[in-house]
Amino acid sequence: MRKFILFFTVVSVLLVTSGCTDTRYMAERRFWHAEREAAKIFAKAPSGKLSDEQLAKVIGIYEEVAKDYPLEKVAAQIHFSLSRIYFSQGKFDIARRELTRIVQNFSADTKIAPQAYFGLGNIYEAEKKWPQAKEEYEKIIDLYPLSTLGLTIPMYLVQHYQQVDDQAAKEAAYEKGVKNYMALIDKYNQTSVAPVIKDHLASLHILMGKPQAAIDLWDETIKNYSQGTAPLKAYLSKAGVYENQLKDFPKAIGVYNEFLEKFPNTPIDKDVRYRLGRLYLVNGQVDKAKEAFYSLIDKYPDQTQLLISSYSGLAQCYRKEANTEKVVEMYDTIRTRFPDTTAAMAIPFLTAQYYKDIKYAAKAETAFTDAITEYQKILTQKKTSEKAKDAVMHFLALSYLKNLQWDEALPLLRQLIEKHPQNPSYLMDIAAVHRNLQDTDSAVKTYEELIKRYPNNAFLVKFAKTQIDILEKGSEN
């Protein structure tokens, strides 16, 4: 009995103390509590901006954990976070120091170390020190060639030269990237990594506007690998290039059909079939498109989104055949089968818009009026959720615009901008309304607001400036 009690006591003590020795777990615990403490400080900061004192406190909280557990992964997380904080403050040297610590302590970790080197490169880039940045990026290729970053850095370098419009450097980077990938393919030829490397090389070819070279690589993968995800990805990438880059829809259709024949029951079967349906439609093969959409409806009766997309696809098929009755039938099906979806809410507007497109003016006017009445009714109903209300407001605004009811559209669009400040289309619609009301000043002001709200969107800024020029020239004349 005594021996049993002694044994039990020893085991209990060992168990109790073992709960205090795993540094990984203890580090995670400390880090989690540190994050909570930091979050409290962030929550107190007015409009999310920390004072110097608060920032120093947050940094201190994290540094304490990193100091106690320097070799645990949470320490790497902390150094990354601190680097980002110092970077946002413009303290590049200190930001670099944090990442250097990661490189020193986690050089053997093929996920963490490449990210740290990449961060170092980003910091040099922000300081406009491209040669030093390039050096850091190339270290990733040399030291961690098979890591995710190691395989994508050649493309990153090419993209950089593309952005700065340096053709010679871009070509040189491309040649070096191809050489690097080919060396890796030779080294790992008989392994499962080879198709992954080929995929990256194919992406590099695409970047350089050489789609056929990419297609040849994917064909190699398809030929040499019949199992796993590699051939699936190769087929889809190949079809994507034919569809999006080369606009060779018959070839894209051929590739998708070959994929479906070779891999009949993959989880992406429905996505590929849907893609095929859309391609048939774009390629003018309306009967085939209808066949594809109807087969999806039969095969996947429980997949709501897919069914909605398929019925929408069928509506487009019948539009091409100028079969108004069937178009309306497809829209009605979406509405009755899926009444609580955004797609169903769009139907009154889409139906009216369809009548307008086929120049059936009388029907279009009635349909827009009915759509407006229906949307107004939905907005007054208490059971309508906030998300549904947003969608309905959007379609109501569109209905007003299409029905030339500018005064009704304006306040609604203003409401939508307040709710969705990240969506520039509402401001663009408001500008269009002012233009239709011949209110040039308001239109110009709206375009100026667009530039002010989205200064980093080069396309929008250019568009808005162009419209302002046109309006100002028009008012001068």
Partner: protein, 270 residues
Amino acid sequence: MMVVFKTWRDTWRIIRKQPVVFLPFIISGAVSLLVLYILFLAPQRPIAYLLAPPIRAIAGEKFLHYPFNFVLLPNLFRLGDLAVSAFLGMLMSAVSVGMVADVYSRRTPSFLISLIVGFKRYFALVLLWIISFGIIAVVMKFLPHLFNLQARLGKSAFVAVSLCVSIVVQSLFVYMLPILIIDRKKLWGAFLENIRMLLSRLVPTVILVALPSLLYVPMLILKSYASLFARTGFPESVLIILAVGVIAALVIDYWITISITVYFLKNKTE
């Protein structure tokens, strides 16, 4: 109701006279707490070498990290507790029944002798546990579908309904243990005798089982929300809630088992 109070009074007297009858439940409770602690240590070395692979395979890597290990802990412990209950809990209850019978017959209770008697009926005890657990599991699986209960009642009320089902099933087999250990009947004979006793003394039996079981309710509600506590500022509170649950269950089960045994012995001698 008087008969119930008298039984409880006699139960209290036995406990005061021979507190050693509590020992089997202490052993059962200690093992449960040990299982809980080992499961708590699952993400930490060296226990992680053993438990991390199955947890990773079934639940995912996330639950091997702080504080998500506390989100999974109630479910893990439920499984561990079931195993302890099946393979040790029933045996310890049987030992306790034997010891109470000794005290009632004015003999000195012997843990060892009662353990040997319990071991001899081990297969029957485990089978009894499997049958009663199986009935509860089947009823709880189909009851919500029949009445769409969970959706309509909410978590707390659903816990209460689960407890009621548990009380009913426990009452159905409540005399099996004393009959198996004290009368030493075979399983089927014990079941028939159990039903006969239950039907002839239904109300006091149900009260003896149900009233102490009501003390489970706050613990069960707390345990059902345990994984939410993992997301608070003190995730370790999950461990404390589960440990308190073990102790509460220990005390309640102990009280029910001994009072039912005392009631059985009283009616046997009458």
